[in-house]
Symmetry: C2
Subunit: 192 residues, 2 copies
């Protein structure tokens, strides 16, 4: 029986992942208003029935999608072989640009007006935020027992989020690189 | 004739301001999808015809609204009698929380998906961003001739924007205050 079940589970898992990736891409490109389960199912090449089997509601699909992609990015960040703190800061800032951040931003803004979505996204955001903080502390080799260090790392993550917001409308890369270089130096000094 | 025209102009100006303030409040509370000229006119207690006389399109109304309120806040910030850099940093961060930032955020996200709105909001955002930077440099007494100072101030504004984004879903005040205190100290040291 196990021999029959395993490939079936693999297929189901692959379908789920295709849906999640399509959902994030859809949210980043078309926003919440343009993102429905039907649109995502078509993009993923999955029947609408199969999509609804995995995710009964639109809220299920999009919160799961943002969480899934955030976890994938966290794993990638954790395995980063950064040579120095400047590279770590640049990698953290990169987390907040690109399609994942764009999708999350659309989800946050939609959630701010929709009660049903709001509590789920708030909880998701708190979890993703704690995880990003933990990874940043680890990669920066920061000692949170030292007063101010925790807030230094938090401010850095806030800055990364603000830089991500600035790229929503325009390609901000050259300016962003200069800010990252300067603030990496400030963080390096503050962390000792 | 002038005696007749002046009160008329005053009334027209007052109507315009009521519309602009109602537009920002509406955008902050209901998002782009829930914000139409008709909804704003009703909220402002102005006839729809009068609203359309002032602002022929929805894009006209909402970009003008965000610009108007941003200018009001800039004036308020310029006249700030801050005792030290910590107070300046706190006041700058305050610019990015509250209804104006919330309204602007809704406008940015809507603009990222709508071509017609996008170019106008991008231009508006560049203008508001330059103005905020100028005010921050002035209030902080920062010397931009010194290498790194420009990027320190830019990063501070990015951090303020990221802190604003964090308040979209939850009341983040206690954490924000700790981050502001720590980063005000770091910025103070960096600016000399």
């Amino acid at each position: 029986m196990a021999l029959v079940t395993a490939p079936k589970q693999d297929r189901s898992r692959a379908t789920r992942q295709r849906l999640l990736q399509a959902a994030v891409a859809c949210l980043a490109e078309r926003g919440w208003a343009g993102s429905t389960v039907a649109v995502v199912a078509e993009r993923a090449g999955v029947s609408r029935g199969a999509a609804q089997h995995h995710f009964p509601t639109r809220e299920d699909l999009f919160t799961a999608a943002v969480e899934y992609v955030a976890e994938e990015r966290s794993h990638a960040l954790r395995s980063l072989a950064a040579k120095d703190r400047r590279e770590v800061v640049a990698a953290i800032v990169d987390l907040y640009t690109g399609p994942l951040f764009r999708a999350a931003l659309h989800l946050w803004v939609a959630a701010s007006d929709e009660d049903q979505l709001r509590s789920r996204v708030t909880e998701l955001e708190a979890r993703v935020g704690r995880e990003s903080h933990r990874i940043a502390v680890e990669l920066l080799g920061a000692d949170e027992a030292v007063p101010g260090v925790r807030e230094t790392v938090q401010g850095l993550l806030d800055m990364a989020r603000g830089l991500g917001l600035a790229t929503l409308l325009t390609d901000d890369r050259p300016r962003r690189e200069r800010v990252v270089n300067q603030w990496a130096a400030l963080v390096d000094e503050a962390l000792g």
